[in-house]
Symmetry: C2
Subunit: 203 residues, 2 copies
DNA sequence: CGCCAATCTTGACGGCGTCAAAATAGCATC
DNA sequence: GATGCTATTTTGACGCCGTCAAGATTGGCG
């Protein structure tokens, strides 16, 4: 049940590991994030981290989990109560894109195949990630937004499709495949139109 | 195919490597695709592949390149000449999803951060991938489809946004994050509606 | 035939994740 | 204050990995 031991051998290695891992991830990507290097950065021997995380995968899950918490916080900050809902949506989309472009490697980790493909995710991560999406669906269903959805539209489907659009945009953008960094704003606005059109006339 | 066992010179190691690498990728993912294992499968020593590919990255690029060729071929097979363009679009979307779900690891490799993040791509791969997207834009601009786009819509933006929707759908679906395999058809149709709505009324 | 360049092999280096066993340090109890 | 318990940390080892260097083998061309 130990929560935060203050002064053992190192101090609070658990937190230190997470912090260093986050910067290592941001600067070098998953490829550059090795447990050995991480341990060295924390000033500790190579196998010390294993007493705080079951294995490398668990540490990556913890990292991704933190990301989802920040993303959920971002979603909660969006104000959909105003009149101009296109503007609200545009703000949200831009916020989402900024979140992704601010730390591409973290975004990749959160949504990438590395963790998700074979059910390699922590139970905890799965809950947080799904909670995040549930929050998104909830927000789509708030009184102000609900009026936008036709009666026969399934909110879940609309949420999935719109998130997919956002997500795809981020991936293409971050990896620089079919969308340039300069086009970001223009494409972002196009996506808003796409989603809005899908919201208003999804039949 | 001639089988020439245990000769010093393999014969067509280049092709064999690509073939074995493809199956290894499909079955085990990038993680399981090591040059050493690959060499063993091909019946040669660990460093033999280096005489056919500069390094592992180059081999992965070649693999992705083959994928883009198949994707382009798939796009060319879609028939947009008929009357029912919603149906045509739905067929294309389903074809795209099938392409991705048929070999998730290949799709991941083609569009994933592994190859694209730091410009680690071969010049050749870049050309093929961009050619593939150009082909997509072209098809959107064919006479039958062109009529769908409002005069003020920029085809490039529409192409980027619609591809992003498709792409995001695939990623979420393949990694099983926010979209289940069962929901595939329903979400796919929702995406078609989204894209169509975006095509018809993008302002 | 002899030679060259392409092809393939063996050996080695450093890095990785992780297991096992030994060492260390804080804590509670006597 | 000594003792024992347990959490923490270290050292050592194993088997993978990508890749470089140097040597062995061979097909093909003159």
């Amino acid at each position: 049940m130990a929560n935060k031991p203050s002064r053992y051998h190192h101090g609070d290695l658990h937190a230190t590991l997470l912090r260093e891992a986050a910067t290592l991830l941001r600067e070098q990507g998953v490829e550059g994030l090795s447990l050995r290097r991480l341990a060295e950065r924390a000033g500790v021997s190579r196998t010390a981290p294993y007493h705080h995380f079951q294995d490398k995968n668990a540490l990556l899950c913890a990292l991704a989990e933190a990301g989802f918490h920040r993303l959920e916080a971002l979603m909660d900050r969006v104000d959909f109560s105003g009149e101009d809902r296109e503007r609200s949506l545009r703000d949200f989309v831009r916020g989402y894109l900024r979140f992704a472009t601010d730390d591409p490697e973290q975004y990749e980790l959160m949504f990438g195949r590395t963790l998700w493909k074979a059910g390699h995710t922590t139970e905890s991560l799965r809950q947080v990630a799904h909670g995040c999406f549930r929050r998104y669906v909830e927000r789509l269903n708030e009184p102000g937004q609900r009026a936008l959805l036709p009666a026969d539209a399934e909110p879940l489907r609309v949420a999935q499709a719109s998130w997919a659009t956002l997500h795809g945009l981020c991936r293409l953008l971050l990896d620089g495949i079919y969308v340039d960094r300069q086009d970001m704003e223009a494409v972002s606005d196009q996506a808003v139109r796409l989603i809005l059109a899908g919201l208003v006339a999804p039949r």
